[in-house]
Amino acid sequence: MKQFTFARAGSPADATRQFRNGAAYLGGGTNLVDLMRLGVTAPDHVIDVTGAVSDEIIAYDGGGLTIGAGVRNSDLSSHPLVRERYPMLARAVLNGASGQIRNAATVGGNLLQRTRCPYFQDVSMPCNKRSPGSGCQATAPGADTANMAVLGHTPFCVATHPSDLAVALTALNARVRVVSQAGVSQARGMAPDGGRWVDMPGLHRLPGGAPDHDTVLRPGELITEVELPPPAGGRQTYRKVRERASFAFALVSIAALLDVGPDGRVRDCRIALGGVAHAPWRALAAERVVLGVPPAAEVFAGAAEAELRYAHPLAGNAYKVTLARNLITTVLEELIP
């Protein structure tokens, strides 16, 4: 691991003021420290932001929640209001990592964790995400593509985003508050405190031609909180399929919500998939098929088909398309009241 200077930030402004090229913000460290040990990332200055951002969950007028970026994953999933009003979110977090990691990992850090693509994590391999322009070992002949993307990928990067939390936030229409250095943001026409809101979906990018950028955040921008809109009606859940029953990343996961009106027709449907793309995948095409019609198995099958029609599985992961289709149909059927 490369040597680094260390500082604690006492406020978001303090954190962004300390940021410079080559610096990294530290939350719980459960991903960053590992990446530093692997040599995947080598900051020369580490800024501990756990004292700079809120670690509280606050209900705001209108029924939504504001979640500080410093809230630990375990405190998020055990919070009574999260369990009661946003069950898909509690379940997504509970399905991520282990008890020890959830105790340390923060909300902000969870959203900004890096892919677990084995070629990204192995510094002896080419990787456009880690070293832009070096190539993509995951698309080379003989590569292990079992856990790579099936949607939205490019020949330059087929990695998937590993967060469960982000998939639920994508289905819940959450938004993320970010701040940057005041002078910088004013020049960009942002709020005086250097803040802006980023919607989910929208925080995470598809790889395009720049897979080294996981998100739309600019260097030095800091996530300070996540805002959940008032709870939606209907029923919701999170389901994760993985190679073992616990403590593993998703092969495919789904956050889903179904709300059927008094007329028997679906008035709200949200579907987000994890494990299939470079970003949490909001299945808008599938949602459009379900909205406005009575819920039924054949409708859900058509919805899954509409979403997955353009999937491009790689040599070793066609199973993910089947898995995603089955998850969409099965979970939506279970959500019918």
């Binding site: 990592a97 008890g99 105790n103």
Partner: protein
């Protein structure tokens, strides 16, 4: 050591405050083992995947290998060496012996610290059917909650039995007298699961 890359920190380890200057790259795990000589905490994978390094930091179980010591300045750390008290072994240590819950023993310190921390954690798990309840700790719940601790010998069956045997009927550990302090900030034994449930309702 270049001073720009080093920091003087104070941590309370098993109740004893200790000041030390460390290279900023030092993990809590390496601090415990290499600087303090507390080798009970084990290094398995050093990537947060095996749980052998589990300790309690401010009363919460964490992977010491992924914890930068410099970020834990001021924290209270409890290791397996701090589980036994004046009255003898921690109840869970006794249970692991009675139930033959280990073979080679390498994962055992992490299993013990993890179990002690796990029993203080309120709320549902990934296998809980009703998220609004604090479910009873069935063997299935224990397996899910302990999934961050691998045992290559495969002693899982008896680990679950050992933990099950020490489940507090009223939500508190059976024998708080022999359990040592978690340090200067966290009460021990912690407030029980049922007490927390009642406080919320």
């Amino acid at each position: 050591m270049d001073s720009a890359y080093a920091t003087r920190i104070t941590v309370t380890v098993n109740g004893e405050p200790r000041a030390v200057a460390i290279d900023n790259r030092t993990s809590v795990l390496d601090l415990l083992r290499e600087r303090f000589g507390l080798t009970g905490t084990k290094k398995g994978c050093d990537h947060g995947q095996c749980g052998a390094c589990t300790v309690l930091a401010n009363g919460r179980r964490v992977n010491a290998c992924l914890a930068l010591a410099v970020a834990y300045d001021g924290a209270s750390i409890q290791t397996v060496e701090g589980l036994a008290g004046p009255g003898g072994l921690h109840p869970l240590q006794g249970a692991f012996l009675r139930h033959d819950a280990f073979q080679c023993g390498y994962c055992t310190p992490g299993q013990l610290c993890s179990a002690v921390g796990m029993l203080t954690e309120a709320g549902p798990s990934a296998v809980t059917a009703d998220l609004t309840e604090d479910p009873p700790l069935t063997p299935g719940e224990i397996r899910e909650r302990m999934s961050g601790n691998l045992c290559r010998c495969g002693a899982y069956v008896n680990i679950v039995r050992a933990i099950s045997s020490e489940l507090p009927p009223g939500g508190e550990l059976a024998d708080p007298v022999s359990a040592t302090s978690l340090g200067d900030t966290a009460p021990y034994p912690p407030a029980g699961r049922l007490a927390e449930q009642e406080a919320r309702s």
